[in-house]
Symmetry: C2
Subunit: 169 residues, 2 copies
DNA sequence: CTTCATGCAAAAGATTTGCAAGTTC
DNA sequence: GAACTTGCAAATCTTTTGCATGAAG
């Protein structure tokens, strides 16, 4: 199901292939390859879906690699530049990211009840967006499209009280 | 062009009609009607497009009504509840709002160069969103759809250096 | 051994909250 | 007069930055 966009030697995991790509990126931009940065790349690729910088800190510390928030925040632009992750919107004043890693573009259907997210992609919508941009003389550079709703489970639990207050699962 | 969704006596401006609606809302929710809150409603309705809480503070102080940020932040949920404004996304860690005031739904085309925003609405896209939600068993409650690009002017100026760093302006 | 990376603590910016004093109902 | 609002200052929270120390090339 997942396209194999980065060449890799047999026996090398896809994740390690991306770590290698990150090294090349760093070399190419005259930055330094460090263990901490590689660990960050692995941690970012291990995140299930959206994640917050804090999640990376937690992930690394959990596996015994102490790291400071400052380092994570300073590394994020590098991971973005290398195409490993991409910002996917802010929530409650916190910027979220997700592993991009060569995956095709997609948008999100998000449950306001439990935070569950489903990825979706409709070429029709993409095309219409291009139309809108062109119509107004804009050069399209990107977009953010989130559909909000209640997932099946949350509709059942349906406590007809709060709706958008229970952030985070 | 603008629908008249709130009944009003002749001679009463549309804005005052909304102020009146806000009073009703406060009464209905057992909150108190204060001059500061009414001033906030007028200030919010006077904002040209997207605005930040700080803009309301500035607007009120400019017209001689001193107000503290805390009060503005505490009033925002009320204005939202009354349907006067609605949050329209975060940018750079700051939550933005815009006057909802009975205007029909629309999404935004935003210039990443100068921040200029154009409103758009395509029923086709709206319908597709409903389809996506239904397909996954979600009950649609809302969405956020922003198209990002460079407006005609910014394409001309086109300093082929920075792209997304010159926020504001 | 020069340059860049890291950690720590402090700084900055947005938003929230505790508390005393002022208003609305 | 009781309950709610407001302003102020202090507190939070996320992200950034200065600086001294440590590691990569």
């Amino acid at each position: 199901m997942r396209r194999n966009l980065s060449k890799r030697k047999p026996g090398q995991t896809q994740r390690e292939a991306f770590v290698g790509g990150f090294r090349s990126y760093l070399h190419g931009s005259l930055r330094r390859v460090t263990g901490v940065r590689e660990a960050l790349v692995r941690a970012a690729l291990s995140q299930p879906g959206h994640f917050h910088p804090e999640d990376l800190v937690a992930a690394l510390q959990r596996q015994g690699v102490p790291i400071s928030r400052a380092t994570v925040y300073r590394a994020l632009p590098l991971l973005i530049g290398a195409g490993i992750i991409e910002p996917t919107g802010e929530q409650g004043g916190r910027q979220l990211y997700e592993a991009a890693a060569g995956r095709p573009h997609h948008d999100h259907l998000i449950c306001t009840g439990c935070g569950k997210t489903v990825e979706f992609f409709l070429e029709t919508i993409e095309a219409l967006q291009r139309d809108v941009a062109r119509l107004h003389g804009f050069t399209l550079t990107g977009h953010r499209h989130e559909i909000h709703g209640l997932c099946p489970k949350c509709q059942t639990r349906a406590a007809p009280a709060e709706t958008a207050d229970d952030r985070d699962n």
